[in-house]
Symmetry: D2
Subunit: 309 residues, 4 copies
């Protein structure tokens, strides 16, 4: 008998209510600080396109670092192994924006999901597409395609606000440039990075976007191959070991799924061979991951037994 996912989501929705005001919304930029606590949405998408949702699943939020999964996918598809000259695949063991490790390791970021790594990935895409606007268009079109929403866009106010408070990310980029691991204009590349982080999606779109990673790189609905199976598995492995900043180990430990979180409160996860999941709740725990989103996913794998372990 197949599991009743809708009922499981409903249970989680009810159980999670007392948690929704816990944690605090990202407040380093005004545009994010204004988002109201207490919101929650969760969507599950199966191979045949069946969708189960609870909560505000049509409400768009800033996907932030979740966008790093999509830029990593594009760059890995283009560069294959060559990419690892510029970025590693090891957990960082340090807060997500630390310059310390980057300096000790000669400007090669630990993995594509810490800020330095994601910025270098964006820089590598600009090198390939020759132009930051063309690059942004490629990224946007890719996400529009996998999400099934051809009108997806990014929030210019958020992107500008990030740049206004972007000194640390600019310092990371400058430091990489000083080590020879940066190829394009620092301001332009970091702005492109901020733009793709400012993309807004709802959980239905986000869950749909991750489906190809749950199915070996091929969208099970359209049959379209986005990356090879080998690369899809590797993207999932990096999500598992590095997807949640300095709490990646704890996430693997409690949830047990490859997933990527963003400071907008979203988390996108995959159950390989089974489904993709997106959850959103804006209040964050001390590691910068959605407090209720993490709990909801833990409840989901406990109730369904769908952890990869």
């Amino acid at each position: 008998m197949p599991m009743n996912y809708q009922q499981i989501l409903n249970e989680i929705y009810e159980e999670i209510q007392p948690e929704l005001l816990r944690g605090k919304v990202a407040d380093y930029i005004p545009a994010l600080a204004e988002v109201e606590k207490g919101q929650f949405a969760m969507t599950v998408t199966l191979a045949d396109g069946t969708v189960y949702s609870v909560g505000d699943s049509k409400k768009a939020f800033s996907i932030q670092s979740i966008s790093k999964v999509f830029t990593f996918t594009l760059a890995l598809d283009i560069y294959s192994k060559e990419l690892y000259k510029r970025v590693g695949v090891e957990p960082s063991g340090n807060p997500f924006n630390s310059l310390v490790q980057l300096e000790y390791e000669n400007g090669i970021p630990r993995n594509p999901f810490i800020n330095a790594g994601a910025i270098t990935i964006t820089d590598s895409l600009i090198s390939y597409y020759k132009d930051e606007y063309k690059t942004l268009e490629v990224i946007m079109n890719f996400i529009r395609e996998i999400s099934g929403n051809p009108t997806l866009s990014f929030d210019q106010v958020v992107a500008n606000s990030e740049m206004e408070h972007g000194d640390r990310n600019l310092a990371l980029a400058r430091l990489m440039k000083s080590f020879g691991n940066f190829e394009n204009d620092v301001l332009g590349s970091v702005m492109t990075y901020f733009k793709h982080c400012a993309i807004t999606m709802n959980t239905e779109e986000l869950s749909r976007s991750m489906l190809f990673l749950a199915f070996g790189g091929t969208d099970p609905i359209s049959g379209k191959v986005f990356v090879s199976t080998r690369k899809a598995k590797r993207i999932n492995a990096v999500m598992l070991t590095c997807g949640h900043y300095d709490a990646s180990g704890e996430f693997a430990f409690h949830v047990g799924l490859p997933a990527k979180s963003g400071v907008g409160g979203g988390i996108a996860a995959v159950v390989p061979g089974v489904m993709s999941i997106a959850v959103w709740s804006p209040a964050l725990n001390k590691y910068g991951n959605s407090h209720s989103g993490t709990l909801a996913l833990e409840k989901f794998t406990t109730k369904t037994g769908l952890s990869i372990f």
Copy 2:
């Protein structure tokens, strides 16, 4: 049609031959430095007890850090969540014996598989069993039971040699003691740790020992419950994120299985719900993991598609 595991192992055995002399045997103590390169063994154990092996699968080797999986299992079973006051579950992002991180993080080791973490786990077992000899006996008897070999023992020469070269591990223990995270005699606890690291097993025994972790904490052959399913999944998660020192991300990336390596050249892995695997080849790569053992596991998941991702 079920996969022909024996044939897959045979293929791997043949393909791996040119690699067997690559890397170098652990040489920080004479007893390990004497082990000859070029040796290789691999064993797969299924739920019904079927065993497939190639190579020197009856030849015992020093399991070293793989023993940390078993002491972690015992301690987690005893202390549950209390254990996390003394040791974390995050990847370390630093070489496996670094004091730096331990000092910055106030004497709480990052995870139970770095040396500091494993020593604190052994110390916690001594606190529980009151006595270091009793503790060693409990550890030995547990491993004898799960391996199916009631005569398993440890190599006293290796343990003594470790102690002679044990200054760094003693420094780790002293540092934890200075932070209040050490409860028993430093020399006695570290010696107990060296003894369980000096346990010798062959790949058939090691593979058999891991079977309960592949099946949610319950041995599928005897039906005996060793730990709860929840705890077994968590042990697997920690193996995935922290099982290979500073190359855990790469191992997850290339192999995609929860596994733990030791400097004796062994690697023990699980495919949740399917099987346990042990591989041994003494020459190590630059991260201290078996060079050919890692490659053999990568070949295995590629050929079988049995990665968790």
Copy 3:
């Protein structure tokens, strides 16, 4: 009987000849890399204006980090104790351009002579003089006055070349800005810093420039007070503890004088109450200090007994 300084300089000049080709010229920018090894000059200036020189004492060189003494003097005169909110007075214990320490210490540079500290000093002067061009003019005019050469200038080619290779210094400034310890435009402030580092002087001018610091802040020839005695002593103390990057302890140990070096091969020193000294020889030791310049000063304090210890 007064010492015969000319004879001592002549002896040093002779003894130092076999050392002049040792070490290597700074090569991180072409303009400095072109300077020929083997050159040497040394000048002593007494309170009454008597000057003793050997070698190429009329040949101008890039004073580089020695300029930090003069900007620190100007900033300390303006801000007094307020300055220590932005920069410390402790030795750094790390290579001179490390971001690590700056990050751990929340964007407050350890001292005014590491790059981050000197850049923040320049930034503080721009805040005071409202404008980077006005600031540069004030710095230039101050150095023209104390050196007695009203036509001193900086080398625009060197300054531009520094900016082209200036990513690490820009990263330092960005990082300080992210911590709120930077007030003006990053590019403009760093460019002003590069310009004052690119000032060219010969040893006679440089020695003359330091005379006020040997005499409690007052030029003993003109009687003009440049800083208070208290501040002059403190500038000397910081030169002693922090004047030579990661080799400040060794310099104090071997030479025993407050002094500041630059990667152009110059070193400016004071013997409090007695004299100022400048030495120049472009080949650097592994710490980035003039190899022969350091040796010449060691010989000087050995021959004269004029160490402060």
Copy 4:
């Protein structure tokens, strides 16, 4: 006209009264925690043996880290340059007991005044004198001779208490041993170190003990040469750059004298060619240096103009 040192000490004594209860007494071991705040003593000793004192100058206190000056003197006399293979002369830029730097720098302590450096110095003396008891006797006899008090001793209660809380120092020694920079029994060497740190002296004895360092290594009263002038100057240089843990720069900046502090509240200083000074007041500032002792010395150099800068 010679300065009236007694009057200056009297002034300082009066001015310092409101400060005496500021700061906190070292409390990491009971024996030190019991010392009453509010006590103060200061003694100046001139070349001809004239002594000026105020306060409790006959009251003995635990000299603690000040003893490191005397063991460094003995070791430098024995080993000369060979000593620098085991310990550096650079300021540490980190709290005085940090393992981090020691690990990054391969077990070679930054300087002889951080704990690791002083322990390695004691270890080097034991290697020379073959025996820890003989070594302790040599150290005691040396300090008895330079202090003029043949009955000086150490406080066994303090030494034992240090050992009971000595895990961090034992960790430092173990770490150095793991890098090959430790030659004798770890427990025995560290115990010898704790014993010489537990020596008790009053300010008159301590001031007298430092006189040879103020006069180029030769006691100006007896004419006895304890170390060469060259070595005495170097010891003074290391006191200036490294004598006050993480506040050495600030001490040089505010006081401007070579000096060494201890957590017992003592500070010993020299004015080269002029005098030695000892001050004691047990309440410490946040860096572990005597709060009132530091202030008293600052007042002294301000009133007398006797800073070396």
